[in-house]
Subunit: 454 residues, 4 copies
Amino acid sequence: MSTPHPIVALTSSSSWALIEDKFTPFGKETLANLIDFVQNEVLPATKLAHAQIPTNPETRWKTERPILEELKAKAKKRGLWNLFLSKAHYPEHGVPLTNLEYAVMAEVLGGAGHIASEAVNCSAPDTGNMEVLARYGSPAQQKKWLLPLLNGEIRSAFAMTERFVASSDATNIRTSVRREGNEIVINGHKWWISGAGDARAKIHLVLGKSDPNNEKKYHQQSIVLVPADTPGVKIIRPMHVFGYDDAPEGHWEVIYENVRVPLDNLVLGWGRGFEIIQGRLGPGRIHHCMRSIGVAQNALNLMIQRVTDPSRKTFGKYLFEHGTVVADIAHCRAEIEGARLLVLSAALQIDKYKAKGAMKEIAIAKFVVPTMALNVLDRAMQAFGAEGLSQDQELAAAYAGLRTLRLADGPDAVHIQQVGQKELRRAKELTEQSNALKKKQNALLQKWNVKAHL
Amino acid sequence: MSTPHPIVALTSSSSWALIEDKFTPFGKETLANLIDFVQNEVLPATKLAHAQIPTNPETRWKTERPILEELKAKAKKRGLWNLFLSKAHYPEHGVPLTNLEYAVMAEVLGGAGHIASEAVNCSAPDTGNMEVLARYGSPAQQKKWLLPLLNGEIRSAFAMTERFVASSDATNIRTSVRREGNEIVINGHKWWISGAGDARAKIHLVLGKSDPNNEKKYHQQSIVLVPADTPGVKIIRPMHVFGYDDAPEGHWEVIYENVRVPLDNLVLGWGRGFEIIQGRLGPGRIHHCMRSIGVAQNALNLMIQRVTDPSRKTFGKYLFEHGTVVADIAHCRAEIEGARLLVLSAALQIDKYKAKGAMKEIAIAKFVVPTMALNVLDRAMQAFGAEGLSQDQELAAAYAGLRTLRLADGPDAVHIQQVGQKELRRAKELTEQSNALKKKQNALLQKWNVKAHL
Amino acid sequence: MSTPHPIVALTSSSSWALIEDKFTPFGKETLANLIDFVQNEVLPATKLAHAQIPTNPETRWKTERPILEELKAKAKKRGLWNLFLSKAHYPEHGVPLTNLEYAVMAEVLGGAGHIASEAVNCSAPDTGNMEVLARYGSPAQQKKWLLPLLNGEIRSAFAMTERFVASSDATNIRTSVRREGNEIVINGHKWWISGAGDARAKIHLVLGKSDPNNEKKYHQQSIVLVPADTPGVKIIRPMHVFGYDDAPEGHWEVIYENVRVPLDNLVLGWGRGFEIIQGRLGPGRIHHCMRSIGVAQNALNLMIQRVTDPSRKTFGKYLFEHGTVVADIAHCRAEIEGARLLVLSAALQIDKYKAKGAMKEIAIAKFVVPTMALNVLDRAMQAFGAEGLSQDQELAAAYAGLRTLRLADGPDAVHIQQVGQKELRRAKELTEQSNALKKKQNALLQKWNVKAHL
Amino acid sequence: MSTPHPIVALTSSSSWALIEDKFTPFGKETLANLIDFVQNEVLPATKLAHAQIPTNPETRWKTERPILEELKAKAKKRGLWNLFLSKAHYPEHGVPLTNLEYAVMAEVLGGAGHIASEAVNCSAPDTGNMEVLARYGSPAQQKKWLLPLLNGEIRSAFAMTERFVASSDATNIRTSVRREGNEIVINGHKWWISGAGDARAKIHLVLGKSDPNNEKKYHQQSIVLVPADTPGVKIIRPMHVFGYDDAPEGHWEVIYENVRVPLDNLVLGWGRGFEIIQGRLGPGRIHHCMRSIGVAQNALNLMIQRVTDPSRKTFGKYLFEHGTVVADIAHCRAEIEGARLLVLSAALQIDKYKAKGAMKEIAIAKFVVPTMALNVLDRAMQAFGAEGLSQDQELAAAYAGLRTLRLADGPDAVHIQQVGQKELRRAKELTEQSNALKKKQNALLQKWNVKAHL
């Protein structure tokens, strides 16, 4: 592209031409604002923010990072806040951005490392939790938990996955949620609960079985709000991903042992747990995907710098003059472009037909993007040599993070099967069309009195 | 997608949402017209058109197919004619369609087999040749050759590739083109000249060396118009591709032996050959790509029908219930979607920045799409068993045709290197940005008096 | 390898060291004899043998090629005859070679094109048919059909696959074989019957259903000997693979219409058809695999010559100096070596444990080798440009032939599933071992009074 | 394989048949002894050994693990000690095992986790260092450092890679090694020095430039023995690999600042550094490869257990009944078998032709095996879900370790290029053979008076 539109200079993507006219003036302005904020505030602060995470195990999970609070204040002032929450679906608290518009912003955030999303209050799992509370929370629940979340004053956890349980099939979940008088009593053994051990996470949304004998399998579950300091909430340990503990949030093993909360902490109603988690998933997957594309683009940028670095010459040649480096870079470029277009197309599909009408597109993005990004990162790591695997570059940590995305919200296989099955549903119509066509073709042969070649 | 827009029902692609608003009313109407024509006229005629190619070697290359003439007449009447020729670039003869609009139509044509493009007078190599004559031809040349080509009365050949020469580097070309008085004398040994042995091909555009000692390597070549019946034009044999002779056009070995044409047959001027072939390539590659996507989409549709066919059950199960078939189909779907978006994005880029400003996008499409389509076809062939490799299905022939696209207009490697090199040009700016950023990051660490983690 | 053992100079493989000591003196001598014969007699004759296949459709399938008869006479004289028939299993007619020894010879044959196998009377489907007759034929059947086959005087066909039937599940087969008095009456519609239209093929082994209601699904089938000139044997057309008809043998559509043969033509007994075809498959697959490796090795050799050819330089560089060619060649080399070792290992496994005890190894070879060889060929074709896809090189025809091997004797998926299922059978033992180990590990922790890290 | 030979029951590999007869009785006995030791002593102790690594950063790098000393004593008693050191090359201290025999043992060790190799005193980098000292060390050097290493009393480091230097081209190395009177003074900045921060590592072999202006680039380097407690040896920090610090050994950044050692600490002689590191590499790569295969085999075993675990059922099905799991397992099996055979073949090649005569085979193994093993691990991790990426399974840590092998001892690209270039050297001979053959083929055509098909 001769002269990239300034707004996407960050990623130099040609897909901008396809979507530019779908941005409102507010969308464009916000994107420009965000890019400016990320470049001039967030990126310069990433090293400091990393350094402000204590290495001491005593304090590692208990510290607020001053630089982050400063960034959050600046972002709020710029109007860059809760961008994920679509006004179309959440009129009261939402921001007037489409899924497509926010998707582009998610790439910008993803390319800027972990703190960017938090700086604009768009971090998982808070985003999904805020959507749940905004859509399904009672006024009291919203006042107590949604508002501080929207303000970035607290953080939250979503407790679904269970240890010793194949919980990618959510009907397998065993945590017990039962009413006892005016209280709800919760007992269960969860893990991989992101942020649960972070001192700032004040509220857990816990999915459990309230009606295990209901013959409708998807009406057995309920979601309950559990304040983090409720007696019986036992934070066991952070799970590691590869060798990373992902402080300051972490992914935690948590045991809920006879945890008691008031009846009012039930979300939406008994047996509505499944309905809630279903609504929570679609757009979030797109955000994950676009952040991943930002990560991949960033890795490619690093790789390009490395292979052209004169101090890295070996045997008298630049790294890019060796082996298959140039071809590797070309493949990275092509794979990133193709994947980005798939996600943007899915985001637009959601805008047009809601998440339900975009299931195939979401599923495609969900299984294509993480693998694509992992491949790009792997090539970049290879270009960096051992340093690329170490704490001195961000690549290996990013790889670990992306690797979880081939499992989170369902392993690849689930989405692949879903797309395949959806395609198979076209069989009947296709076969009917083919049969009708063959008849016409044969009729024409007969009419012209010509014999088909064998 | 819940309800596909009728206009793209043929391909049920979600990318339509991304581009719909870039179509003019004329573009949409023409697309709908074309889809209707293809479904109701072209597809029913494919078997007949195939049957009308004689198998007898004596007549195989000499026959006009009546059904094709009928289709051409119908297409012309519907206004579906020369759709490839953009009015923006060729005001006199062109059609007011953008590259993007025609790209979608090219997919429709590609999915309908060989005769569809010819029926609407959009077949290679005529398309490129008409562009050359429309842009660079003298009025006399246009009157004599362009008009009958535009009318679909004759066909043409483009003679560039040479036997015994590594002609993917066009400076290697050896055919001699020299002036002798008022005549041009041509001597050379070409091959893979598509259509040259087809009786309907009346004119060859021949690239040769007119000034082999010119120190500017790209000013040594000229293009000359050679009527097919000029003495000395020797049609040697059709080259086969995986055993196919691709009648009725074929790809020919041709020897030009002391061929003499008037001086007026020179195109544009002495030494301008390279300039002409450069202008000829960009959009044509996009058309090839979109036709390939039509082929891939078609193969997927066939595969879906096969694996759901109850008469193909083995061991009590449908084919789709075995092995990795469902996953294969999902990957086909995802790969087609991603590739289509890449090509559409490149087409739009051409519309916005001309072919020169879309070189990276064109190159990406050029190396991604054929390999993608071959993979889809290979999976489809596997689903069909041996029948999938035979004359009873169109898959193997389509595979052979697509396989040539990894070589035509430059092998994959050329385009891959081009994209990689273009990416490397970003190195300087990226490195400067990184260095500036690192300074800011370190300044901030110092300002806060925090030490970075090792 | 510094100095390759002369005996494997043809393939320069390092795997020779692994197997050399498993060759008997006779095996080594025969291999040397065969390599000499192939290099000095077969390879010089390949072009002539190809030229002796008439292109005229009238005579194409009816001609014996004199050069082939000459080669066969020479081979017989040298003792290079029926090498596939193991004396261990067929004491009367067999040759004292192991499967491993013959496997190496099959690679030599495969690398020398189609005529090599025929020259030493080791062509499919005759090889399998001779094994059937040698093992299961009555003395009369052997005298009438086996002896002329062993002498290379006639050829044969094996009629199993059926049109309109998913016959990769052989229980689906519909051809009817029923007794009527002293005759057997056969009615059925077969295709892909290799050699059936070759004038030299005098005998068909036809698999059909003789007892369709037998509740044992694998006792419903019988095999009958049908002389090719029996009334009712209708040779319909040759099936093409890609665009090749594979003359002079071809793969034929054949209809058996009220074909009557004497009762004596039943092989082995009523309902024994499945048993016969089971015994026919194992070693044959290994031979196919080794021939494929010969083809791949040959393609790599051609590729190496092409990319170092000074007349193929582009932009001032050898082809191997462009793009990823050197890496492509390295991958070809590595893939060929790995695949060859897998097949040799399977061959040895058969020698040690019979085909039944080598099922996993055979299945691995069966799905790994053809795909490997296709990848090698594809890279070679790419190096040759369009010429690589044409009749001027052997690559595309070899590709088409190898592509059928991903389907013949069961599609890849069947063998992949078989290996996967076999692996799963190890689950019980592995799980028991793991559980026992965990107990020991925990006991040791307790004994040392140490707590495991979380 | 029906009944696996007990000696390879651990890996149930069919390659045993290929190599069994190349084992001496001592080799077989030692292998059986090793397998017994690993199963009954090492594997039960792995959890304890892991628990004995302190998590406290103060003590983490300073602790000897009692269980390991116990295992070492048991191994020594069983005669399972220094198995890597071939008597053929090191008559004084070596063990009478071939490379092939030890390769199989390396797989056994690799499959049993980190401590197995150490338990039998076969850990890198000690193995390579002992080989250097045994081959090139002076009697005094051997007495002081080799003997305690051979006895497993101390450990060692090999300091080659440098920070800020593209040290995969060893001529780039900058560490200065210069003589000053009777001393050698060393100044340099190394990193990725495995074990350098481990309290047990008493001696560093440091590669530096002693003669930077020598016009022979490979005579500029020397190797010096530096006791770990020499003043000026500064242990900076452990490098992490995917978040792992790989305690208790670790990979360290080390600065040598005016480190002074006696002249006697020079190894072999001035300018012989390159010669030494060259001799150090070949067999070591094979050991790495076989250990990797052990890791891959182990991962496959774990995967098989997981996908058949009834407690992991989702949607009513075992994991292996979903998606492409069975096919994934089959591919793992096939890839492991093929890779193992390649390494065994390379090991045998070393035995026959020394490392120099096996360079191609070693290079192939070096680039094929780690990628293969990473693919197997990746599939296994995917089967285990998030748990597979965590500290509760060994898979992610193994992945990180294997990932370094695509870079250690030269990145993949180096070995790929080496193999490709070696193949290209066959071009001349192949081309001559082809030309000779073509002449013969044409002569035969002429003799028979037949025209070749075009």
